[in-house]
Amino acid sequence: MYCTLGRITSSLQCVALYLRPVRHRCGVYVGPHVVENRGGQNITRHRKKHTTSLSQSQTPHHHNPKVPQTPTWECVREDQLPLPTKVPPDLVDKLERLALLDFRNQDGVDCLEKAIRFADQLHVVNTDGVEPMASVLEDRTLYLRDDRIEEGDCAEQLLGLARNTLEGYYVAPPGNIPLPERDEREVLLKYSEM
């Protein structure tokens, strides 16, 4: 069973919570029934087989020796992890204001706490004396562009995307619209969910 924080917008990187190891999905699934390529039908059948049951890992005839049959790692024990983080309501409020998220109700906050707990497993690794990475691309060279005018002059296209424009300008409300207070928000949400 797994649950995703589907309601959290993309400004917080989506974290899929796996509470138990599942079979890793790779792009190419070599199944037993592909003999001839009969077009769409075969592929659909593949996909159906692929998603329905996870227990169908037992006996594919051409199994990839690099993919282990059973999980090779063990769960991290609770006592190895630091104390569980509780997210206080004030912090939830602040996050909602800063990142324009909507935790909606206590379930959303619980999901967040579980996500933090999952990430706490990283604390088990000893990183003393190791330089943190800047990003996974840090060994690539940064491309430097010439100072030449190559883009721009597409005002019509860009303004065509906006709902509201005026004489070549985008129209926006004056300043940031402040989020309503928490009580008001709950009232709003009750009505919006209906």
Binding site: K94, E138, D147, E167, P178
Partner: protein, 550 residues
């Protein structure tokens, strides 16, 4: 940009640093300061400080300067950089933050940042990183700004500037301010308030233009020092060509962090002053804010940490809309940009494409002449005083003007500088003109000085000719002298006759002179000069008068 958490932390860290030398404020007589500010801690005017130093409040000013990089295109996209253009015409898909677009760094911007760092004696970080600073505002379409918070391009520099002290002394005091860091970042778009329809109009032409943010340590203590530092920075950036430094066009934006405290005590709560459009307003805004804070503290109140805008019409700072407490920018590494690596000629990879490699020492060698060096060169080549050199370099185009006059005239540079700084510059300032708009060309001034040097006219007459030339009637100095008969009076007899007549018509004065009061002689001299229309040689007149009245 609003003060970041990092900035606040920096201030808090400063609190625990005990500084043995407090930067004191030197107030000149022409300074717009109250007596209270003037009395507080003057390095030279110790006599003014009656109360013990520990009781006086001193101001602490730190500046955050955003300089728009002078390049053809923006920092991460290939759209053009230009000041006035139809709205949203210089915007690429990346600038509009359309999904699927990625930043591509502009080499010219990196070179500009490195040049500026080297000119300000900074340590250039061979590896620097880009980060995202998140906040929501309509003029920031992506919801974040790409900046360099963790590891900026240059750190630990020093800006040396001079504060001109007018009055009896008239010399230049050397000061310096530490530069904490220089970083590359994106500019945001422009928003215009449409009051009628209660909406904001967004123009993204400015969004994405490369900025150099220079963060200075709070080493300054009043508006005058800040204005002088900004002026020096403007000159340096203009000399390097990395920024045109025009504050009114928004190419150089200065935000001041102002606080007051007593020497030896921790730094006080600071406020940020924004919306300053010129160096003159900067000094006034900072001084007003310092006065306001001192009044608050001395009356027992506490200064609130807020952002204030400067209203140049009233000369006051007004609190801006409250920003809901401290902003948390949720900095994160920019995932689309690997680290920026800079090399020296020795460390550069062998097989690298030269357009992809930036060599720090090569840029160092190719740095143009900085203002400090120009000043020293002028003093050495032309034998003028350092203060004159300072004023010359401070005004746009005045150095070129001065040099072209000196090249065309036989007069000594020391005499030329007097004419250029007192007469020409005085007139320009009075009429708020720039050197380029001067009605007197260097050639015309050179001709006038040649006449003076040759002894064809006296110095009072030369001043009259100068006035005539200023009117711009197209006549040369020669022609004016001819037409108005201002040539030096050669007829010795004529001069003697006039002296005699003046003496005869002022018997009381003559008696006073004979009685011992030599100063009255000047009055008689004035009479003679008026009669001769300034054409007589003053020395000759004086000798004649002295003879006749002895």
């Amino acid at each position: 940009m609003a003060a970041s958490l990092v900035g606040v932390l920096a201030v808090v860290r400063n609190v625990s640093v005990k500084r043995t030398v407090r930067s004191k404020c030197l107030i000149s007589s022409s300074h717009v300061c109250t007596r209270r500010l003037g009395a507080s801690a003057c390095r030279n005017a110790k006599a003014q400080v009656k109360r013990s130093l520990s009781q006086e409040l001193v101001g602490v000013v730190g500046l955050e300067i955003h300089a728009q990089i002078h390049a053809s295109t923006k920092l991460f996209s290939g759209s053009q950089v230009r000041f006035s253009s139809p709205p949203n015409s210089l915007v690429s898909f990346f600038d509009a933050s359309l999904p699927g677009t990625l930043p591509v760094l502009n080499r010219r911007c990196v070179e500009a940042a490195v040049m500026t760092g080297l000119a300000l004696n900074c340590t250039i970080n061979k590896k620097s990183l880009f980060d995202r600073k998140h906040y929501f505002y309509a003029d920031l379409p992506a919801g974040y700004q790409i900046t360099q918070q963790r590891l900026p391009v240059a750190v630990d520099g020093r800006l040396s500037y001079g504060v001109l002290v007018d009055g009896s002394q008239n010399h230049v005091l050397e000061r310096s301010v530490r530069i904490k860091q220089i970083q590359l970042e994106q500019d945001s778009g422009k928003s215009l308030r449409d009051g009628h329809r209660s909406q904001t109009l967004i123009d993204l032409n400015r969004a994405g233009i490369g900025l150099m943010e220079l963060v200075m340590e709070p080493d300054m203590c009043c508006g005058e020092e800040a204005a002088a530092a900004v002026r020096e920075l403007q000159l340096i950036l203009q000399a390097l060509g990395t920024c045109q430094g025009n504050m009114s066009e928004g190419q150089l934006r200065v935000d001041a962090n102002v606080s007051v405290h007593r020497p030896g005590e921790p730094l006080g709560v600071r406020t940020e002053v924004k919306n300053i459009n010129s160096a003159r307003f900067l000094a006034r805004a900072i001084d007003y804010e310092l006065q306001r804070q001192m009044a608050v503290v001395e009356s027992g109140g506490t200064v609130v940490n807020e952002t204030r805008a400067f209203d140049f019409k009233s000369g006051q700072t007004i609190p801006m809309r409250d920003k809901e407490g401290l902003q948390d920018y949720r900095f994160m590494p920019e995932p689309n940009l690997p680290p920026l690596l800079l090399y020296d000629q020795q460390t550069a990879p062998m097989d690298a494409d030269p357009t992809q490699v930036i060599l720090i020492d090569q840029i160092q060698e190719q740095l143009p002449e900085l203002p400090r060096v120009t000043r020293e060169r002028l003093v050495k080549t032309y034998g003028i005083l350092p203060e004159h050199s300072f004023t010359l370099v401070n005004e746009d185009d005045l150095v070129d003007y001065f040099v072209s006059v000196v090249q065309r005239t036989k007069a000594e540079p020391r005499k030329v500088i007097g004419w250029v700084l007192k007469d020409l510059l005085g007139q320009l300032k009075q009429r708020c003109l720039s050197t380029a708009q001067s009605p007197i060309s260097p050639l015309a001034l050179a001709e006038l000085l040649d006449l003076l040097e040759a002894g064809r006219i006296s110095s009072p007459a030369a001043k009259l000719v100068f006035q005539e030339l200023w009117k711009g009637t197209g006549r040369s100095a020669e022609q004016i002298v001819e037409q108005q008969d201002l040539g030096v009076m050669r007829d010795h007899g004529e001069i003697e006759r006039i002296c005699q007549s003046v003496i005869d018509s002022h018997p009381e004065e003559v008696r006073a002179i004979r009685g011992g009061n030599r100063n009255v002689l000047n009055k008689l001299m004035g009479r003679v000069m008026k009669q001769t229309k300034g054409r007589a040689d003053p020395l000759l007149v004086r000798t004649l008068l002295e003879e006749k009245t002895s």
